[in-house]
């Protein structure tokens, strides 16, 4: 069931991903910066909110007029700020929704990542509460509807003695004090908790992306500025408690659950919202979860070089003083609770070399689920099945759909937990030992990597920008990297294979010509 929904979510994101990758490229693809975009939208909300606060009157009688002044009298600044405030808030919810769907679709909320996933749930509640209290403050007809419906919802919680909704029936029953409380919640209380929540959300991630690329920031800001000029946010009629609200222009991003309060009842709406939150909170432990062994350090082969600790996307490896008396300062120590079993640390280990002839192939750090020795064995056996003139051995991460596509097409594929698990010496091994004529490396595109940096580090290692680098003796043209949206990726993986075979054929022809 869960797998079925994940498949649908992946397919839906794929529809969005392809045109966005084409338009923005891999680095600036908005789908790869959703979390950072939400934070950026929050910055816009904060800055525009400060301007609104300067002119806002926190009283029942003054709130509406002060917002009207900002919207109409000071339209060139206050009005634009108000519109930006609204649209950036809405954009944050839109990005948040896609962010959640993406993490769910690519199964990146299990194991160690449960922490970011679970701490994200209160963040969603906070963001919605912030938006709802914001609409309350304008004190127009929408605010009246929001106030009454929110109060009806809160009345359902059996901790209040008097009915809160009763305060919004008669003008004389409504006090400025209550308004001040709402303003405090919206302007101070919730934002402080939100900042703390965001910090907690990214706390266990190494190198969390806090800011999206500058051009993406500029583009989205410009987009919302234009929208603010063309379609400025305005208030509805002033709230009048003697009159029932008959119809409102709802902000569906924030208030989509509110009509249900009338259609069902506040109790059922709570049941739905709390139920969804609980399911999301427990999702990391729902089947089909697999718990593999974490990475293990072999001190006899660990020289304390720190590359595994540098490359671990989740900060699961710490360098500590040597405990075995060996002539190195440090040793790597794996925190099993933080390890996602991706194997990126193995790809970073300089001792993970298949050329080793003395003793067993045991690198300084290894993944029990698929050890470096197992990998060499698999490469040997898969390569043995290759035949013909242009033999191509493919490497693919198991989370990528391309592995299945390649296998279906009868190609020789070696699957890894993540492409970051593949140490560059293994590429050297395949080509120098003539196990294949060329190598196709394929997997998740950068930014969509299930383990965050697997593709990124692999690309850097193969292009000799990051240790352990691919040896100079390797002809790079024989290694094709087909991450799904990198610039050199020309289409689907079969096309990529055909291109690689054609290039091998051309190169073979050109080698033969001088002899002729």
């Amino acid at each position: 069931m869960l797998l079925f929904f994940q498949k649908i979510a992946r397919a839906s994101l794929g529809i969005l991903h392809r045109p966005l990758a084409r338009a923005f490229g891999p680095v600036e693809n908005p789908l790869n910066h959703l979390g950072a975009l939400i934070i950026f939208f929050c910055w816009i909300v904060l800055i525009s909110g400060i301007w609104l606060l300067i002119f806002f009157h926190t009283s029942v009688s003054g709130a509406f007029e002060s917002v009207e002044y900002l919207t109409h009298e000071q339209w060139y600044l206050g009005g634009i700020m108000r519109s930006l405030h609204r649209y950036a808030s809405d954009a944050a919810i839109l990005a948040l929704f896609v962010h959640i769907v993406k993490e769910f679709a690519f199964d990146t909320y299990r194991l160690k990542r449960w922490f970011s996933w679970v701490t994200g749930v209160p963040l969603v509640w906070m963001l919605f509460t912030l938006g709802i209290t914001g609409y309350w403050l304008v004190w127009d007809e929408l605010a009246q509807y929001v106030a009454i419906t929110s109060a009806e919802l809160l009345d359902r919680i059996p901790i209040f003695t008097d009915s809160m909704a009763g305060n919004f029936l008669i003008e004389s029953a409504l006090s400025d004090r209550f308004f001040t409380l709402m303003a405090f919640l919206h302007l101070v209380g919730l934002p402080i908790f939100l900042v703390f929540g965001i910090w907690l959300h990214v706390f266990r991630l190494s190198r969390p992306a806090i800011n999206p690329p500058r051009r993406l920031m500029a583009g989205t800001l410009l987009c919302m500025l234009v929208l603010s000029f063309v379609f400025p946010a305005v208030s509805q009629d002033k709230a009048n408690l003697a009159q029932a609200t008959q119809a409102v222009n709802l902000d569906w991003f924030y208030l989509h659950a509110y009509p249900l309060v009338q259609q069902w009842s506040p109790g059922y709406v709570w049941l739905l919202l709390v139920g969804i939150s609980c399911v999301i909170c427990f999702a990391p432990w729902l089947p089909p979860g697999k718990i593999a062994e974490p990475a293990i350090v072999d001190l006899d082969n660990c020289n304390g070089c720190q590359r595994c600790a540098d490359d671990c996307p989740f900060g699961a490896i710490q360098m500590q003083p040597r405990s075995d008396g060996a002539n190195y300062d440090q040793e790597a120590v794996v925190d099993a609770d933080l390890c996602t079993r991706c194997g990126i640390c193995v790809g970073a280990c300089p001792t993970a070399t298949p050329f080793r002839t003395r003793g067993d192939l045991v690198p300084g750090i290894d993944l029990p689920e698929l050890t470096a020795a197992d990998l060499r064995k698999t490469i040997n056996s898969v390569a043995a099945t290759l035949s013909g003139d242009y033999r191509i051995l493919s490497f693919s991460c198991s989370g990528s759909t391309t592995a299945a596509t390649l296998k279906k097409a009868g190609e020789a594929v070696v699957e890894l937990k993540c492409m970051g698990q593949l140490p560059p010496p293994f590429l050297d091994y395949v080509l120098s030992r003539d196990l294949a004529d060329a190598i196709l490396m394929t997997g998740c595109s950068d930014g969509r990597c299930r383990y965050r940096f697997g593709t990124h580090w692999t690309e850097d290692r193969v292009t000799r920008k990051r240790d352990p680098r691919l040896r100079r003796r390797i002809d790079e043209s024989r290694i094709c990297r087909a991450w799904q949206d990198l610039p050199h990726y020309q289409g689907n993986v079969q096309k990529q294979l055909a291109t690689l075979r054609a290039s091998l054929r051309d190169s073979s022809d050109s080698n033969e010509e001088p002899a002729a």
């Binding site: 029936l169 008669i170 929208l227």
Partner: protein
């Protein structure tokens, strides 16, 4: 050039989604010809038993700071509240007092929708636990306008219903 075009299309679609869904479609919760009657008040119902005057001996047994001349049962009766418009029952419910000991006030908040027009409104409440009739009742002939929010409250000082 195609990338710029692609980005323009993306940003336009993004703006359109944000701009549209922030105000559209309109949500109508009340038909133009309807009005709302809101029933909202708190009221402490009668206690379940009579207060009894303590004897001097009973007073002496109590700690000095707890000596009160009367001993009253803590619990209160539930209250039955009924609202009718031209004999159509809008609300009829027995409400329990709040608190673990059922010694607090009853709290009512209820909204009913009805078409605008002329109505004879009846409100009654029985809070003494008796079976016969209402302890408090109010009848009014009202002309309710479309979109009006008519509020029914209860003044605990005068023990009368208030219709605003």
């Amino acid at each position: 050039m195609s990338r710029v075009l692609g980005q323009c299309v993306t940003y336009t679609a993004f703006a359109a989604v944000i701009g549209l869904l922030s105000v559209w479609p309109e949500y109508r919760m009340l038909s133009q010809q309807d009005a709302i009657i809101s029933l909202s008040f708190s009221h402490a119902a009668e206690r379940v038993g009579e207060c009894r005057q303590l004897t001097q001996e009973e007073m002496n047994e109590l700690p000095p700071n707890m000596r009160k001349p009367n001993a009253c049962p803590r619990e209160r009766h539930s209250a039955y509240v009924e609202v009718r418009a031209d004999n159509e029952v809008l609300f009829a419910e027995t409400l329990l007092p709040s608190g673990l000991w059922q010694d607090g006030k009853i709290n009512i908040y209820h909204r009913s929708t009805l078409p605008a027009g002329k109505y004879q409104l009846f409100i009654g409440m029985n809070d003494s636990g008796g079976n016969a009739g209402f302890d408090y009742e109010h009848t009014a002939n009202l002309q309710i306008a479309p979109g009006q929010n008519l509020v029914i409250g209860f003044d605990n000082l005068t023990n009368t219903f208030v219709v605003e």
